[in-house]
């Protein structure tokens, strides 16, 4: 084991130095500009989709009779404008501790509550995450006027309180965070995949691969190469995160502190991000290293890149099904399937506060990293380092 680690370190040190000290590393650092733009675009679309599928509900804390009046007005408006256009209403009986009830309702996830309407029809009070949501305030005002049988703009003024910073982010904010995190993780791994696939091209074209294979176990070579790339990527990640935070500080009021916090909180989420990035990279990287090891030229690597990219996109789409439906059978399958597990668990970290599922997932993913590495090393040994005639593909692995 010691020898394996020592050998892997020798390989990793060489690869890391060669990567980071090369001029092309500057281009590598600039590379996320395009995926970041695309991620923002997809993230925005996702957030819109999430906002549409999860219409904000307004909790109406009122006696039964008043709620029936408001509900009747809601039905009339729904009939006229369509169900999708009007805010959902959920009725609750008033409790003695109104402030506590409001707070609890705003933290509710099923259904997610955007705002709480209380008081009475004559003195309505609306509390919730409403600063960026004038449509909800307007609709509630219309509903109250309609419930009282008054004309527009003749109803009582609503006492609106924005409590976004008190009660934390809404579910849709967390969905946006989940989308963003998945998109960033996906694009980072996508960007690295071609690089990892071509990791062995240098050794193969230089013929130094035989010198290495004669001196160290193939497993060490695989581990060394993967971890060198991982270390270089983490270095780049630190640069990117720092640059991103700095950019936010400059362009957005409140800087990075204004970002909606994920369910597990920022410290855990950042830690999990690094771990899931590492796991996602190692899972895909190990697979790509094996695939790339079959290629002898850069052209072959490029040919392999396209199907690999599509496969990654499929897995991304699979993991994305978990967003806002973390306990659905598909989402659970995505969390268990090794290649989609890190992306899915990132979304879970954004949306749900429990930590223990992450620990289990990390162990599960680590097990698969080890398995893929072992299998890859074996396949590499069998197919790459051999003389004699090249076998046709249907006899692949028989050497």
């Amino acid at each position: 084991m010691t020898r394996l680690l020592r050998s892997a370190f020798v390989i990793a040190r060489r690869d890391f130095t060669a990567t980071v000290l090369s001029k092309t590393f500057i281009f590598f650092l600039l590379a996320p500009l395009f995926p970041a733009a695309m991620g923002t675009l997809f993230g925005g679309i996702g957030a819109r989709v999430a906002a549409q599928t999860e219409r904000p509900a307004v909790a109406v804390v009122a006696p039964q009779a008043e709620f029936k009046q408001i509900e009747a007005a809601h039905d009339e408006m729904t009939e006229a404008l369509g169900d999708g256009a009007i805010v959902k209403l959920v009725g609750y009986s008033p409790e003695p501790d109104l402030a506590g009830q409001e707070k609890r309702l705003l933290a509710n996830r099923s259904p997610p509550i955007r705002a709480v309407l209380s008081g009475s029809l004559d003195h309505p009070r609306l509390v919730g995450s409403l600063a960026d949501d004038p449509a909800t305030v307007g609709q509630v005002k219309l509903l109250i006027e309609r419930a009282q049988g008054r004309d527009a703009d003749q109803g009582p003024e609503i006492d609106v309180s924005d409590v976004k910073n008190v009660s934390g982010p809404s579910q849709s904010d967390r969905v946006t965070t989940a989308w963003g995190a998945q998109a960033i993780l996906f694009f980072l791994t996508l960007m690295l995949s071609t690089m990892v696939m071509s990791q062995l091209i240098e050794e193969k074209s230089n013929k130094i691969i035989e010198v290495i294979a004669a001196a160290v176990p193939i497993d060490a070579m695989f581990v060394g190469k993967l971890f060198a790339m991982l270390t270089a990527s983490v270095l780049a990640l630190i640069v990117w995160i720092s640059a991103g935070a700095l950019l936010l500080q400059v362009i957005k009021h409140g800087g990075s502190g204004s970002l909606p916090p994920p369910a597990v909180g920022w410290p855990w989420f950042l830690l999990l991000s690094v771990i899931y990035f590492a796991m996602n990279y190692l899972l895909f990287g190990a697979a790509f290293l094996v695939i790339g090891a079959q290629a002898s030229t850069a052209r072959e690597v490029q040919t392999m890149s396209l199907p690999v990219t599509f496969a990654q996109m499929l897995i991304f789409a699979f993991a994305a099904t978990a967003i806002n439906a973390l306990n659905s059978p598909t989402a659970l399958a995505a969390a268990v399937f090794p290649l989609s597990s890190p992306l899915t668990m990132m979304a879970r970290g954004a949306e749900q506060p429990e930590i223990w599922p992450h620990l289990a997932a990390i162990l599960w993913q680590a097990l698969w990293v080890a398995l893929i590495l072992r299998f890859g090393a074996k396949l590499f040994r069998r197919t790459v380092l051999r003389s004699g005639p090249r076998l046709p593909w249907w006899k692949f692995g028989r050497a």
């Binding site: 020798v10 090369s22 230089n206 004669a214 001196a215 003389s387 004699g388």
Partner: protein
Amino acid sequence: MLRQAQHELAEEHIAVQATDLVKDFGDTRAVDGVSLAVPSGSIYGLLGPNGAGKTTTLRMLIGIIDPSSGTRRVLGRNRPLEAAPEIGYLPEERGLYPAMHARDAIAFMGALRGLPIAEGRRRADVLLGEHNLGEWAKKPIRSLSKGMAQIVQLLGTIVHKPRLIVLDEPFAGLDAINQARLEDLIRRETRAGATVLFSTHVIAHAERLCEQVAIIAKGKVAFDGRVDEARARLRPIVRLRTRAADGPWREAIPANARREGHEYVFELPEGGPEPLLKALIDGGAGIETLAIERPGLHDAFVAIAGDSAAAAMEQEKAQ
């Protein structure tokens, strides 16, 4: 106890042992039952034309690939990679990282075998200086000539002071001066206690360097033993030139003797030179010149591996 002691003694004397090694690539059998024993401290040559199975045999012996069947034992270990820190290997297809500096390339190869990188750099500087490449130590490999790069790789092969040095076609691509340097280096390493196992298709190198050779043809070992044993398989050749064109002396010459110009060329008869000489003199041959030549390794190779293998090797040598 005695058996164990004998076993250990044998282990000490045999650096590499292969028994019935077979390697199949799909339906092609590249190596077919190779057995050989390389004595510790010796220079051992693996002779044969390209495609004979030399490289595959070497790769199996040092653990780059596993045999389909058969066993190998290297420096007392059944798993050759376990002995990797004590082995130096120069593959047939040379390779270094082009951007790496010469001293770093040597140190890197040493580090792969467990030598600390700082010590590797220190030794690299010494070795490069000894081989007149001191001024190239901090220059990238891509700026070196092919011959220089080969020397650098060779120095990387020995930087960690291995007990076993395995060289696959080490002379290929080197000019005459560097070939002579390499021969010196091999002898020096052997004097220092290392065992050298190398493959070649150039018989002259094997003849000059090796104490023992294995002749490989079509994946099989056609001969394994000392060079003089290989030669001893053939009778010495007699070259005779006489003044008399004919006479009773002709009866002393074997019937299968051939004429090469004015000379008769034939194998020395079983009785040796004395009866032959006596018969020639008594028969009035008038001996002008008589030479008895020991057959070279090339002749032995032709006799052992066959004309086609020898012709293939001659062709490769010419290329």
